[in-house]
């Protein structure tokens, strides 16, 4: 391990100063992935910048019809946030399924996105919610849709020294979402397959649906073929049709992978879980299904 310099920044101003120095910056927040890579010698930082105390990059709020989540917000904060639970339920559920309690107390949403793991749990949730990533750099801010943010296996569109500042999620009162995953066991497990579904409804009818499946490649995959699901009553059959469509999506996306036969069945299970959860929650809100 080479030696390196490390600094901690408290404000956006501090960060801007560093950016002007023309040094290659490596950012650390929760460090739950980064420290492992560092110890294995897979990363060798020149200047390590601790952003975990950067208050401008933290917190959850609602602004102009969007939920704003700071990049260094931890998954424990997301999992317990009443705003997220209300408007972006699948993200709260995904957050609650990441790693262990100890990991969730440290790991941040920005880190999870930038790490760009194909098995990341937050990504399909953000995909289903049509999230937008706000990127901070020396030239100012730019916004990227979450599907375009990840460009390859473990690669993002971030340019040198750029950093994720916020994630924006449109909040719609008639939308509802759910997340489910399967790993080797029920907790503290890496996803073999995960699914997030976000839908717009009127009474018991689905008006729009956005389903994102993780672990099938470099990025989550969105279900494009929603024929037969729109304007349909959300009953058991709805879940079956969704499962069928997702199963086909899995088969087309990873036709030659050894895991395809399993995933093409398991996705039906996840579709059932997600729809059962949505239906239960909607009935709880007094919507008869």
């Amino acid at each position: 391990m080479r030696s390196y310099e490390a600094v901690s920044v408290k404000t956006e101003g501090d960060l801007l100063e560093l950016l002007k120095n023309n040094k290659k910056l490596t950012y650390i927040a929760g460090g739950t992935d980064f420290i492992i890579k560092l110890r294995e010698g897979k990363v060798s930082p020149e200047l390590l910048v601790d952003i975990s105390c950067l208050e401008d990059f933290r917190g959850i709020s609602v602004q102009d019809g969007f939920i704003k989540i700071g990049a260094v917000t931890t998954f424990s904060e997301i999992q317990n946030s009443s705003i997220i639970k209300k408007y972006a339920r699948c993200l709260a559920q995904a957050a609650a399924k990441i790693g262990s309690v100890q990991i969730r107390n440290r790991a941040t949403i920005g880190g999870n996105i930038v790490n760009a793991s194909p098995a990341a749990d937050s990504l399909p949730a953000l995909g289903a919610l049509s999230a937008v990533v706000e990127v901070f750099g020396v030239e100012g801010l730019r916004k990227v849709n979450i599907e375009d943010f990840i460009i390859d296996m473990r690669k993002t569109c971030l340019r040198e020294n750029e950093i994720v500042k916020n994630i924006y999620i449109p909040c719609s009162p008639d939308s509802f979402s759910s997340f489910s995953k399967v790993g080797a066991r029920k907790s503290v497990t890496i996803s073999k397959l995960n699914l997030a579904v976000n839908l717009k409804y009127h009474k018991d009818v689905c008006l729009e649906i956005n389903a994102a499946v993780g672990t099938l490649g470099k990025n989550f995959v969105l279900l494009k073929d929603c024929d037969g699901l729109i304007n349909r009553k959300m009953d058991e059959d709805f879940a079956k049709v969704l499962g069928e469509k997702l199963s086909r999506l899995v088969q087309y996306t990873i036709p030659n992978r050894a895991s395809m036969p399993y995933k093409s069945v398991a996705i039906r299970g996840l579709a059932e879980d997600v729809m059962e959860d949505i239906i239960n929650e909607l009935s709880g809100r007094g919507i008869n299904l």
Binding site: M1, V182, A184, R185, I190, Y262, R268, G269
Partner: protein, 747 residues
């Protein structure tokens, strides 16, 4: 021998759930494990491992590694002894294939030791290890045991199986496969060795299971007489057989002797998973012949064992497995054949149960499958065929003693509610429900196979406190607490007054070691006997002091009085001091106890599962476990062992797997993020019941629990899953992918 009637009377210290002696120190971090120990001037060693499953080393270039400041010396096949050894040998004169050396030019699995850097600190050692350049010539390799050539074959039999199979019988055949798994002790492997230049002696500090095995192998590799190697057993953070074999000790000892400085080796998880030992992979074919009355009239078992890259215990474990099959059911015509092969995979070795979990998985899955093929209840099928107390082993092994497997099964079936639960499962929704059961038997020491004896010295000090000197190895299971309870019971004194250290090879007497589920049964019996001897000596000496006959002396709760004057009480200390001053006698007894029986421990698990037919996940809802332990010296510890055994068995059944890629020879699950075990939220409800009927030679009737605790779980769970899905899956673990693939076949 203790009878059931005597057991009913109860005891003062035996049968009480006294907490494990060092539990608080371990929980609060006060205990110093080997990894925490620091010696002045200590060096650190880091290994370089083979990236290939089989290769010849053409050249090792250590030039740039040696230039790293702080590097002291680099070891490889070029500068280390060529002495061959077998890491599982535990006594001098044991016959074993010796195919290991410290470093070889030929590496036999991905993870094999190629070189070691010894440096001033761990970081430097790690950094330099990465700079060593090695040229390999890759050689052909074998991963699949079916493609390897056996180096050892064994056959045990009783009766006439050909005749049994020719009769009017139903023959039920299964081929069961069990995988390699990691022991996953919380403490990774660690060792420290130092050289004492005054006595020219090597000292090894190791959390080991057999200190005399460590002494033997270190002395052999270093070319020293046994009295120039001193092994100290350090606090153990779990072993499960993983630290039974001598793995890191000869390296640390050689480096320390060569450099005349203390050397520490401490593994990280990936190293422990890949480069220590694994459970032996087995493929077993079973044919069972059943007559019209549902009696098993014959059984033929053929096994293939994969011992990995080196011989290790391959031959010994194949025999240990074979002995179990004659000791659970009344099968008068039976044959067991096993072939052992080496493959270019991580080395197999001792693992909790020493082959018993594998052989019982193979036979108990077949028992359930047979019952289902015959359309009879597996419970009834077992009850008809299980052995009765004091049955003999038809293959000539030691008598089974007071084996109470039928009592276990009846008690378990009742508590579990088997009658209402086992049924043919119909078609249903996504979640299928099933129940399964499995029985098991295990040993109590080596009697009948190898020499099994131990020596102990117990002394009472002049203040009345006691010290036991014995070569005990507490693996975290509470061995030393058990010994205290036994001594306390005999001496009628509070356990606070008894000290039971673990000992070392220089100052403690010989013991066979902590394996073969022998410690409570054999060492415990020795502790009881030496206590009885000391009690007798104490009584005799007290009688002289008090001027009465020994028959008039009463020992009670740490006090002595005479029948004539029960109101005048002397503490043990008052009298011990008087005995020293007036009688000029030390209160000390040494005895060697040789085990004369090897009764069968026995037990059963009943499992209730729910299978998700879409995700392929199995939720284990409840396990009822009943074990015949003769007498629980410490019921709390026994229950703890059973809970832990079930946790290990569940992982074995459903998720733990050291899977090696057949094309590349690489281990996929070399870290805990890829090697998932049952964690707390995954655990089922567990109900434990004990059958305590004594009847054998263990202390107060005690029999083993540590190993058998994990044996019946995996087959019980596999049987429950097969019951739920109406399948006959026999390849462990039953991972979601396998379950879904099996269900697809059926569709």
């Amino acid at each position: 021998m203790i009878t059931e009637t005597e057991l009913m009377k109860g005891f003062k210290y035996v049968g009480k759930s006294i907490p494990i002696g060092d539990a608080e120190a371990k929980a609060t971090g006060t205990v110093r494990y080997t990894g925490d120990m620091e010696f002045p001037n200590m060096l650190y060693a880091k290994f370089v491992y083979s990236p290939y499953p089989h290769a010849r080393i053409i050249n090792i270039d250590t030039e740039s590694a040696e230039k790293v400041p702080g590097v002291v010396k680099i070891y490889s096949y070029k500068n280390t002894p060529k002495t061959t050894f077998n890491s599982q040998v535990w006594f001098l004169g044991q016959n074993a294939i010796e195919d290991q050396v410290l470093f070889s030019e030929e590496v036999r699995y991905a993870g094999d030791f190629v070189a070691a850097v010894v440096a001033e600190n761990k970081k430097v050692a790690e950094q330099a290890a990465k700079l060593i350049k090695i040229d390999y010539e890759q050689l052909e390799f074998v991963i699949n045991p079916k493609k390897a050539v056996p180096f050892f074959n064994v056959e045990f039999k009783c009766g006439d199986i050909e005749k049994a199979f020719k009769g009017d019988v139903f023959i039920s055949e299964d081929t069961v496969e069990t995988q390699k798994i990691h022991h996953a002790a919380m403490e990774n492997h660690a060792v420290i060795s130092e050289f004492d230049p005054v006595s020219n002696k090597v000292i090894v500090y190791s959390p080991c299971q057999i200190m005399f095995s460590v002494r033997l192998i270190v002395a052999k590799v270093l070319g020293l007489p046994l009295n120039k190697v001193k092994v100290v057993k350090t606090v153990m953070g779990g072993s499960f057989g993983g630290k039974q074999e001598v793995i890191l000790e000869p390296y640390a000892a050689f480096f320390a002797m060569d450099l005349k400085r203390p050397v520490k080796i401490e593994f990280e998880r990936t190293e422990s998973i890949r480069s220590t030992r694994t459970r032996t992979k087995t493929i077993g074919n079973v044919k069972t012949a059943v007559d019209k009355e549902g009696r098993i009239v014959g059984r033929d078992i053929e096994l293939l064992l994969d011992t990995g890259a080196y011989t290790s215990n391959g031959a010994v474990i194949s025999m240990a497995m074979g002995r179990k099959v004659f000791r659970l059911y009344k099968i008068m015509n039976q044959r067991y054949r096993a072939s052992v092969v080496r493959t270019n995979t991580p080395i197999a070795g001792a693992a909790r149960g020493y082959g018993s979990p594998q052989i019982h998985a193979i036979t108990e899955i077949n028992i359930d499958n047979t019952a289902r093929r015959l359309g009879i209840d597996p419970l009834e099928f077992r009850l008809k065929n299980l052995v009765e107390p004091y049955a003999l082993d038809p293959s000539g092994g030691p008598p089974l003693g007071n084996i109470r497997i039928i009592d276990c099964v009846k008690k378990g079936a009742e508590e579990f509610g088997w009658k209402g639960k086992w049924q043919k499962v119909g078609s249903g929704g996504r979640y299928k429900y099933g129940v399964g059961m499995a029985c098991a038997t295990h040993v109590n020491g080596y009697y009948g196979a190898y020499q099994d004896f131990t020596t102990m010295t117990l002394k009472m000090l002049e203040d009345g406190t006691l010290i036991l000197n014995a070569s005990l190895h507490d693996l975290g299971t509470g061995t030393t607490t058990i010994m205290k309870q036994i001594i306390a019971e005999v001496m009628d004194v509070d356990i606070r007054h008894i000290e039971v250290p673990e000992g070392d090879t220089e100052t403690s007497p010989y013991d066979v070691g902590c394996h073969a589920s022998r410690v409570t049964h054999v060492c415990g019996a020795c502790a009881k006997m030496v206590s009885e001897k000391l009690r007798e000596q104490f009584v005799n000496e007290c009688a002289k002091i008090l001027g009465v006959t020994p028959y008039e002396i009463v020992m009670e709760d740490g006090f002595v009085y005479t029948l004539q004057n029960p109101d005048i009480k002397y503490s043990y200390g008052e009298l011990a001091s008087l005995i020293q001053r007036k009688n000029h006698v030390e209160l000390i007894q040494t005895i060697t106890y040789e085990s004369k029986d090897n009764p069968a421990s026995a037990g059963v698990n009943f499992a209730e599962v729910e299978v998700d037919t879409l995700l392929g996940l199995v939720k284990v809802k409840r396990i009822v476990a009943v074990f015949d332990v003769g007498k629980a010296i410490n019921p709390g510890m026994v229950e703890g062992q059973i809970h832990g055994g079930i946790q290990m068995g569940l992982g074995f059944a459903l998720m733990e797997d050291l899977e090696i890629d057949e094309k590349t020879g690489q281990l996929k699950s070399d870290r805990f993020s890829r090697y998932n075990m049952f964690n707390a939220p995954e655990m089922p409800v567990i109900d434990v019941f004990l059958i305590e009927k004594g009847g054998d030679l263990g202390p107060f009737g005690a029999k083993s629990i540590g190993e058998i605790a994990t044996i019946p779980t995996a087959p019980a769970v596999v049987n429950a899953v097969n019951n739920a899905l109406s399948t006959y899956m026999c390849k462990m673990p039953l991972k979601p992918e396998r379950i879904i693939a099996e269900l697809k076949k059926g569709r």
